[in-house]
């Protein structure tokens, strides 16, 4: 800078405008957060209020009405008149679906992730597979339903019927939507998500872990299962958390491969394998959809629908909670015990 002495009047009055503008813009974006939080809590309050209103206030006498209505909510027999029914079977059905789906997704998803990170060489087709699977996570669930209908229900199901249940034809046993196909389809929906979650978890682990195990003379599978996997378990659970939420809440594939409105019995049996795979089952999300569109609801209909919605949201919350607590439990165990 020159050594000349100069008095210069810098025009910094725009600074004032800039400051106000800065505050205003940040304020605007912060108010977006407020709005989103408002909407979220507003929706929840709406559901609770409607359900509560229907449960408690619509009946004449508080005490009697409430218990009766609660009983109705869960255990009412299917009412062919207004299209409503108790939700207990649907809850059971949803649980069964999530369990069977997890049975498929967990081992298959984890196995694929392990293969992609630990066993496969880093070639162009491995990269391609990884990218494809990541992209498949973004494919709409209905597409999986379309495939499920074509391949599982008509394709596999038709074959199974022809081979094993020919006597019952033309009435289909497996060649029709049912618990097994629904679970498999949802498993497909969630496989990419689980694979991506577990792969990320495995990638994040430092290589020293594997090298140390090999240096101690462990075989490949011992390294993977005793050293690497325990460290990656949290990410496995993260993936399963996402999967369960989706399985309970994603209805569109079920419209094609799974659920029904009224089922004469639960898809459970008293003898092995304890689950009736070919049965049609009731599902909470499907009930909600059906009730919203086809039931002849009494005036002020949001009440019953809100009940179903609330139970569904709570169910998803409970499933998430179970998965999250399992994950925390695993994490805690790792800190105190030798993960090897």
């Amino acid at each position: 800078m020159g050594s000349n002495a100069t008095i210069r009047r810098r025009r910094l009055s725009s600074s004032r405008y800039e400051r106000i503008r800065s505050l205003a813009m940040i304020g605007l974006s912060a108010s977006m957060v407020s709005t989103v939080l408002l909407i979220g809590s507003g929706l929840f309050v709406l559901l609770v209020a409607s359900a509560g209103d229907w449960l408690f206030l619509s009946s004449g006498r508080l005490d009697e009405g409430v218990l009766d209505r609660l009983n109705d909510v869960f255990f009412a027999k299917p009412n062919l008149e207004n299209g409503l029914t108790g939700l207990f079977p649907a809850i059971v059905g949803t649980f069964s679906l999530v369990m069977v789906m997890t049975l498929f997704v967990a081992p298959l998803g984890v196995a694929t992730a392990i293969y992609l990170t630990e066993y496969a060489r880093d070639t162009w087709y491995t990269k391609l597979i990884r990218i494809s699977i990541t992209n498949l996570a973004g494919v709409p669930a209905i597409i999986y339903g379309v495939f499920g209908l074509g391949f599982f229900v008509y394709g596999l199901g038709g074959q199974v019927d022809a081979l094993f249940y020919a006597k019952r034809l033309p009435s289909p046993t497996f060649g029709t939507p049912g618990l097994l196909w629904a679970a498999l389809t949802l498993a497909l929906v969630n496989l990419p998500v689980v694979i991506v979650a577990v792969t990320e978890g495995l990638d994040a682990l430092p290589n020293d872990l594997r090298e140390a195990s090999i240096a101690l003379g462990a075989t490949k599978s011992e390294t993977v299962f005793n050293a690497v996997m325990p460290a990656a378990l949290p990410s496995v659970f993260s993936g399963l958390i996402l999967a369960t939420a989706r399985a309970a809440g994603e209805v569109s594939p079920l419209l094609l491969v799974g659920a029904v409105k009224f089922s004469p019995s639960l898809p459970l049996a008293s003898r092995a394998p304890f689950i009736e795979f070919e049965q049609k089952f009731m599902h909470l999300g499907f009930q909600l959809f059906d009730a919203a569109l086809f039931a002849r609801l009494p005036p002020g209909g949001l009440g019953w629908v809100a009940c179903i919605a609330l139970i569904l949201v709570l169910l998803i919350g409970v499933l998430n909670l179970i998965a999250v607590s399992l994950r925390t439990a695993i994490l805690k165990r790792k800190t105190f015990e030798n993960p090897f």
Binding site: E18, S29, G138, I142, V146, A309, V313
Partner: protein
């Protein structure tokens, strides 16, 4: 040493197991596409006509019975019953409508009297008439009222090259089989006259008959019948018909229509994918319109202006929106929003219109409270501090909007809009857009916030040290770097909106109309898949077209996601180098 061998064996077998499992998974996931393509493939096949060997048969074939019934086709009187009237025609004479009961006769001017052969086609919906060497296809359309005579209109005219000696109409489709004087068997599909389906034989043909929808029997003078197999899809053997405007039977002009199961008995099924794709895009774009300001605003605030600790709290809070599955959002939209949509819209307009004034008011309020209240260094608490202000804006704006709407002629917004001639559906695109926008907000927020947060703080601090305001440092330094990531976020949101099914089924009205108005309903690809697939017979063209549409949707989301992922990968590399 046995121990080592056992461990080795175990390792190898486990490795094998893992490989088998993952190959199955990968095969299944990638095989999805292949399977869908296999199912949809027939729809792209062109129509075929081929000669097949005649099976051994005795004298007493069905054809001979038909043959004895049909005298020379060129001298026959044709008639068909339609809605209480009978249409009668004899070659060389004008056609007449004769009423069943009153015996009133009406000339049918549309049909030519100088015809030689006439044949019914397509479930008796249409008439193929041979005039000289020209085939004319006519369609009967339903009369307006019961006793009116059905309208007859010419749909297509096909000029044939040579003389035609025999003509037979397809029982189901608008298709005729014919034999020429040059001993050629030809099949003309009126839906797609350009297809060249002809087979040359070496004997003269006397008569030609459709034995079944896919079998043609040609009778030669020598008595030995010739058999031909005809295959055509419901879309007329030309897949471009899925995309182009078509003048369907009974329609005055070319249109894009999706009506695979028309309500009218045995009317022509209409397979145009265009209205459905239009509907999907319309819904997705409207959803983006509503979601983008909300989600990007949140992403900017959380990604750039908030401390680490607070960020760990706010991010999950916004992700709470995902706790509502789309079924629930759709149900809320159906039961709570749709009945009140007019009022909701008035309130929304009120809020948006009043926003500048209220914002200015907010500035004055804050100035009165002193700048301390909203210092730049207390940014963490702003969402909570601003909550009362937001509620105030919403309340004031809503009341303004509602009272303004009440003052409109008609007493409400809907009434006013209806009076201006605008038609409003109960299930309209705007409703879908709002609820769908809410559903995709967490997705866009998550990705955009990640992109903004990835910009090194060092750089933003550098701008601050030069005396820029926090907003300036965001706008000049952070945003240019984060912009590709934000665009990728929008793309992923678009993909999700395009694939969303439940909200679309419940709120779009599922009307297959193509209208730019946001107050009309729409029908999306996903909703069509969900509603129609369970009922479509698995051998039908409908089923195959649906699978083709599934592939289309899959392709769209796949491409959008891939491009977004490429953008994000590039940004990640760029930021890492900083």
């Amino acid at each position: 040493m046995p121990v080592t061998n056992w461990r080795h064996v175990k390792s190898v077998s486990l490795g094998l197991l893992i490989r088998v499992a993952s190959f199955t998974v990968i095969f299944a996931l990638l095989g999805m596409v292949v399977q869908m393509m296999v199912v949809a493939a027939p729809i792209f096949a062109a129509s075929t006509l081929e000669r097949i060997d005649a099976p051994d048969e005795g004298r007493d074939t069905p054809v001979s019975r038909t043959e004895s019934r049909d005298a020379d086709l060129t001298r026959r009187t044709y008639w068909v019953s339609k809605g209480g009237w009978q249409l009668k025609g004899t070659p060389g004479n004008p056609w007449l409508w004769v009423h069943d009961q009153t015996a009133v006769r009406l000339n049918v001017s549309e049909l030519p009297s100088d015809f030689s052969i006439a044949q019914l086609v397509g479930h008796q919906r249409g008439l193929a008439v041979l005039v000289g060497n020209t085939l004319e296809h006519f369609h009967f359309s339903q009369p307006i009222s019961i006793n009116d005579v059905p309208a007859v209109e010419r749909v297509k005219t096909v000029v044939m090259g040579s003389d035609i000696v025999a003509l037979a109409g397809h029982p189901r489709l608008a298709v005729v089989a014919l034999a020429t004087s040059l001993s050629e068997i030809q099949v003309v599909d009126f839906r797609n006259p350009d297809t060249n389906l002809r087979i040359q034989v070496d004997v003269a043909i006397d008569r030609i008959v459709w034995e079944s929808p896919s079998l043609i029997r040609a009778l030669t003078s020598s008595g030995d019948p010739l058999l031909f197999a005809f295959r055509a899809t419901d879309i007329g053997g030309d897949w471009r018909r899925l995309l182009s405007p078509i003048q369907y039977e009974g329609y005055p002009s070319e249109e894009y229509l999706w009506l695979p199961l028309p309500s009218a008995q045995a009317a022509e099924p209409k397979f145009s994918v265009v209205p459905l794709v239009f509907g999907t895009l319309k819904a997705a774009l409207l959803a983006l319109l509503f979601s983008a300001p909300l989600s990007l605003g949140c992403a900017i605030y959380v990604g750039c202006f908030v401390s680490e600790a607070q960020r760990q709290r706010v991010r999950p809070a916004i992700d709470m929106l995902t706790a509502f599955p789309t079924v629930v959002l759709g149900a809320i939209g159906l039961f709570w929003l749709a009945p009140r949509f007019g009022e909701f819209l008035s309130a929304l307009i009120g809020i948006i219109a009043l926003f500048p004034i209220l914002a200015g008011l907010g500035v004055f309020v804050v100035r009165g409270l002193g700048w301390r209240w909203v210092r730049h260094d207390a940014l963490d608490d702003w969402p909570l501090r601003l909550l009362p202000l937001v509620l105030l804006v919403i309340a004031l704006g809503a009341t303004a909007g509602l009272s303004g709407a009440a003052r409109l002629p008609g007493g409400s917004l809907e009434a006013y809009l209806l009076s201006t001639g605008l038609s409003i559906s109960y299930f309209n695109s705007l409703l879908v857009g709002i609820v769908l926008g809410l559903a995709i907000t967490p997705t866009i927020f998550s990705i955009a916030e990640e992109a903004i947060h990835a910009v090194p703080r060092n750089m933003a601090a550098g701008a601050l040290a030069l005396g820029s305001t926090p907003w300036q440092s965001y706008r000049d330094v952070v945003q240019p770097l984060a912009l590709p990531g934000m665009i990728a976020a929008i793309m992923v949101g678009f993909g999700r909106a395009a694939g969303e099914t439940m909200i679309l089924i419940m709120l779009s009205g599922n009307t297959g109309i193509m209208d730019l108005s946001i107050f009309e309903g729409l029908r999306s690809v996903s909703a069509s898949l969900a509603l129609e697939l369970p009922e479509a017979p698995k051998t039908s063209s409908h089923y195959q077209v649906l699978f083709a549409m599934g592939l289309l949707l899959f392709g769209l989301t796949f491409i959008v996601n891939t491009v977004a992922e490429i953008i994000r990968a590039r940004v990640r590399m760029r930021v890492r180098g900083l």
